[in-house]
Symmetry: C2
Subunit: 216 residues, 2 copies
DNA sequence: AAGTGTGAACAAGTTCACAGCC
DNA sequence: GGCTGTGAACTTGTTCACACTT
């Protein structure tokens, strides 16, 4: 009976969670789907439907207990434990990611920073020694890691992903412009600013055309 | 007669374009939707339907001319011109973005790097002087910019976005975990690695549960 | 009275399947 | 013969609207 939950729903949950988390800290006790929706730019029906995939967390006539719902989402998303993350590729981007303060507070521990360049291996970053990427697979085998962030050059991306997977990593976040392949059963997401920009320019161009057309 | 083209379609075009671009360089003359689809993990019908929103670029019995289709996509996406970009916030992430070699080659010129910290203003990065964020709006008024990348702290994000918009920027790429608002008519995209990771942990947790269940 | 949870209606997006052209 | 372009069929996702609970 595992009713398939749409991926779009899963992708919205962290958004809900982030807001709930903030409200929780602000000491807000109860909130309605209406108000949640306004805050997030989503319809209230959407929020209720999304949550209904996982249970009945609200009270009619009242709304959702902020604390309760935050906790439920934490549980659903697996944020009630800590996740072990390695960053591979300590160039400028890898350095920025390794030092990103937002991970720690959300349950993600960066437990390894790897690079393959002799000039970088052995140096320290925020007090952590950069390890040799050649040791990555062996290290992963010794002490398992959940998530790998790939911030190497495009041509090395597939190799690194393969190594991560061989080492037992079950989720790969690829910051490389290369499209990498992983076996089924391994989670994979791509973050590529150029693709974002290119879809934005489509809209910019459209709008410019409109403006010119209207000016006639 | 502007038939509304779904946003999902627009978001796929840069993917198609990137592959076509590579094929073009490799000297490939013609390709079928079948093969494009295999390469991209998309159904051939999807590709044909997507492209059909914009015109009839293929030849029956033959496929698509790689050069022709790449050119069409370049035109559709507005990549047949250069776009002026500023990066605001030159912390570790802003530095990484400012130096990212992928922008230049795809038609995006970083024409300004701004920060508000006295220790950073006036320093240079890749030979470019970091400018004072206090001058941002005036600078934008003088020499217009198309796209703004926001890489400041979360609490400053909305202010920076407002400044960009007042300065005439029509697209904002927000690297901040803060949800920012922009007026209608301004493009806005968010890139937040934590949200990506949090939807991945949902799947990781699911899979772990499955594994435990099977082990019984 | 207010607001959830949810089947039913609707909308959006994807795939099918085939006529038409090269 | 092979592959595009595209209505039609289907599937997926969203919104509606209301019975029901507090």
């Amino acid at each position: 009976m595992p009713i398939e939950i749409p991926d779009v729903v899963i992708d919205r949950l962290p958004l809900y969670y982030r807001l709930l988390s903030r409200l929780e800290q602000e000491g807000r006790a109860v909130i309605s789907s209406q108000e949640l929706g306004e805050e997030l730019g989503v319809t209230p029906a959407q929020i209720r439907k999304d949550l209904s995939y996982f249970g009945r967390f609200g009270k009619q006539g009242r709304g959702y207990s902020v604390v309760r719902l935050a906790e439920e989402l934490r549980f659903i998303l697996g944020l009630d434990r800590r996740w072990r993350v390695v960053v591979v590729g300590i160039g400028r981007l890898g350095r920025a990611l390794s030092s990103y303060p937002g991970f720690e507070g959300q349950g993600f521990d960066i437990v390894g920073r790897y690079d393959s360049s002799p000039g970088i291996i052995g140096t320290t970053l925020d007090g952590n020694t950069i390890l040799n990427a050649a040791d990555l697979e062996a290290d992963l085998r010794k002490t398992p890691v959940d998530i790998g962030i790939v911030a190497v050059t495009a041509d090395a991306a597939q190799d690194v992903a393969d190594t991560l997977v061989r080492g037992g990593v079950r989720a790969v976040l690829n910051y490389t412009p290369a499209r990498v392949q992983v076996p089924v059963g391994v989670e994979l997401k791509h973050i590529n600013p150029v693709l974002f920009l290119q879809s934005m320019t489509y809209h910019l161009k459209l709008r410019q055309r409109d403006r010119v057309a209207r000016a006639d």
